[in-house]
């Protein structure tokens, strides 16, 4: 399967319809790479003309900014915007809510204005347009699913329905956790917490959230963020439930279920 970089596209005088912004987790983290591959597979199956930045992609600066290092954030933003503008990028799709939030909300006033779409919304549109068709007997047809709201998708950007509509397309039962949608509980990774030890307390946040997710009895915990995915998977392993309960991204669920 061939995945073009922007540089290759440029060399062939081609313009992609979308840029797939992979993000650092999706590029480097073994678990998140699977999400990236699932999403790329969907794009390929549907013959969508897209490209990635490849080695030219760099961290958006989200964890730097949220830990307080504005200098580093501004440097990353400057370089990314130079590259994106240099290629004349119009539309970006990303599988990471943190990248999504930064690209969509924080880059415009720094000179980088693009149409930014999170893959939850993108997949929802493809399903609605009938371009993604799901199998009748997909691997999750007998399993109920509980969706965990990512803070940077939900509260930060008011995207609650799109990922749920994607999951509804699987025609399995969706069970909500006690704290869901705008009341959703954080997985514990945001605000650069992913990159440091927890402060002193009596519990890890991802354990609190995982317990709530397990309470629903769902066999699949669905996420739409690579960091939430890692946190919840760690939680499920901590509870020694990894053989019964799967933590999957909506892109993985769709990729494994589509014709």
């Amino acid at each position: 399967m061939k995945i073009n970089t922007m540089a290759e596209m440029m060399a062939n005088n081609e313009t992609p319809d979308i840029l797939f912004w992979v993000g650092c987790a999706g590029s480097f983290d073994a678990r998140a790479q699977k999400i990236t591959k699932a999403f790329a597979t969907i794009l390929n199956k549907l013959s969508i003309k897209y490209a990635i930045l490849g080695k030219e992609e760099a961290c958006t600066g989200d964890p730097a900014r949220r830990s307080g290092n504005e200098f580093l954030f501004q440097m990353m933003a400057y370089n990314n915007i130079q590259i994106l503008n240099g290629y004349g990028i119009k539309k970006i799709v990303t599988t990471c809510p943190h990248c999504y939030n930064t690209l969509k909300n924080e880059y415009p006033e720094l000179g980088g204005t693009y149409e930014v779409v999170h893959h939850a919304t993108f997949l929802e549109q493809l399903i609605e347009e009938g371009r993604i068709v799901l199998k009748e007997d997909h691997p999750f047809s007998e399993k109920n699913i509980s969706y965990h709201d990512s803070c940077y998708l939900g509260r930060s950007n008011n995207i609650y329905d799109a990922p749920r509509k994607v999951l509804e397309a699987l025609k399995t039962e969706l069970v909500e956790m006690k704290r869901c949608r705008s009341n959703g509980l954080c997985c514990g990774a945001g605000g650069a917490q992913m990159f440091k030890e927890d402060e002193k307390g009596n519990k890890r946040i991802n354990i609190e959230r995982t317990e709530e997710a397990l309470e629903t009895g769902a066999k699949v915990i669905a996420a739409a963020c690579p960091f939430c995915n890692t946190m919840l998977l760690d939680g499920v392993k901590n509870k020694e439930k990894e053989n019964e309960v799967a933590v999957l991204d909506i892109a993985e669920l769709i990729e494994q279920s589509m014709i």
Binding site: I52, S67, N69, E70, L72, A192
Partner: protein, 440 residues
């Protein structure tokens, strides 16, 4: 001699208004100690927020029963103030029930509805006291409220109950004296009112003269109580009944996930990358601090937030860090910000020029441990009924820690250097960024 009560009342009114205005202007001054921030876009949406969030209390309705109870106290407070207008005019003009002849039959209907509200307010205030002190709801039992804040809440509820009882008793004596045809009470026959009439059996045994003294005492205590309450407000969390409105107007309209830009750093990076764009002469700009160390570095809106906080604790109940036993409590972030603003205000009152610089908001009030625990999930912002953002303050203090004090946990420093060198928060070579393609 007949004018004496009127004069006394006028003096009391002037003193109460003056004291309130003085304290209000001090609070305004304290809020304006904050950094300038222009908030003037999208006026229609801002007014919609005032209507929905402040007047309509939209966020309170996440819990409909509590919202309804809160609405009763709030409605009671506002509507019964129409009655206060009559009391005020009666006091100044030396009249009795000025509105009765003007409104005719409508008057009894009006006072009946006030009495209904008064009774409802009493019931709700008692249930609120029970929730706080007997059921000990978690967010009220929290250590956040130890000391003054816990008493403050109880004083408010207690005062409201007393004020309502005085209002009912005053009406009861009045209507009883009317039926006895006593003195000036007989001039405006309003008939018995909805609830206060049930006081009558207790009051029957007293002579008309002593009842008149009671009625006057109730009347004076009621209005003096209201004036006292007015002047208590600015010292109390109860100030939210006023500041919720401007705070809803100035609430952030941008997506919650968007952090405020720092144009000074944006430009510095730009000039480093493209030196040709740098201004040839460095403008005589004062070395500006990056981030916030004290209230002066925060925006005035952050300080308005702090004064609008009613310490309800919905933010802290929703905070993932707090839920899991970390030291961070968004409510305390707001309370400490207000405490610091008040402390600075007090030293300004004593001496108009010097500002208390001995302590600062960062470190002396808010600790590094609290700041480090925030996941920026915005659950606190979402939960707040009066549009406060604790996250905005936390992020500004974090910026100061990193950029002015180089105060970061070791793991964050590694993350920074990885981002700088490998363009990703992990120590992995940038050359391997697209290695995942090979597996496809």
């Amino acid at each position: 001699m007949q004018l004496l009560p009127q004069i006394a009342f006028a003096i009391l009114t002037v003193i109460a208004t003056y004291l309130f205005a003085k304290k209000a202007s001090e609070i305004r001054r304290n809020i304006l100690l904050g950094r300038d921030e222009k908030i003037s876009d999208n006026t229609p949406q801002r007014w919609r927020n005032v209507l929905l969030l402040a007047l309509g209390q939209k966020k309170m309705f996440k819990n409909p029963l509590v919202a309804l109870m809160h609405l009763v106290v709030y409605g009671g407070f506002i509507i019964i103030n129409i009655e206060v207008l009559e009391i005020l005019l009666d006091g100044l003009l030396g009249t009795h029930r000025l509105f009765a002849p003007i409104l005719g039959n409508g008057y009894q209907w009006l006072i009946n509805s006030f009495e209904l509200l008064a009774v409802l307010v009493i019931i709700v205030c008692i249930s609120f006291l029970v929730r706080r002190n007997i059921i000990k709801l978690k967010r009220f039992a929290s250590n956040d409220l130890n000391g003054w804040p816990r008493s403050d809440a109880n004083y408010i509820l207690f005062t409201e109950i007393v004020l309502m009882l005085l209002f009912l008793k005053m009406n009861a004596i009045d209507t009883l004296l009317q039926s006895r045809g006593f003195g000036h009470y007989a001039q405006n026959i309003t008939g018995n009112f909805l609830f206060s009439q049930y006081y009558h059996p207790i009051l029957q045994h007293f002579s008309s003269e002593s009842l008149m003294v009671f009625e006057r005492i109730c009347w004076w205590m009621h209005i003096a109580g209201i004036y006292a309450f007015l002047n208590y407000l600015p010292y109390s969390k109860h100030l939210h009944i006023i500041l919720a409105f401007p705070n809803a107007y100035y609430a952030r309209l941008e997506p919650q996930g968007k952090m405020k830009n720092m144009p000074e750093i944006q430009n510095e990076v730009l000039y480093a990358m493209q030196p040709e764009l740098a201004p040839t002469e460095t403008a005589g700009e004062n070395a500006k601090k990056f981030g916030a160390k004290d209230i002066y570095d925060l925006s005035w809106k952050n300080l308005l937030d702090a004064y609008s906080c009613t310490e309800c604790g919905r933010c802290t109940t929703a905070c993932p860090a707090n839920i899991t036993g970390k030291k961070l409590s968004p409510r305390l972030i707001m309370m400490k910000t207000r405490d610091r603003a008040e402390e600075v205000g007090k030293s300004l009152n004593k001496n108009f020029t010097t500002i208390n610089k001995e302590s600062t908001l960062l470190h002396d009030y808010i600790t590094v441990e609290e700041l480090r625990a925030c996941t920026t999930c915005n659950a606190c912002v979402e939960a707040c009924p009066v549009s406060i953002s604790p996250v905005d303050i936390i992020m500004q203090l974090r910026r100061y820690l990193i950029m002015e004090e180089s105060n970061a946990p070791q793991e964050w420093n590694s993350m920074f250097s990885s981002i700088e060198n490998n363009f990703a928060p992990w120590k992995l070579s940038a050359d391997t960024r697209d290695n995942w393609i090979n597996d496809l």
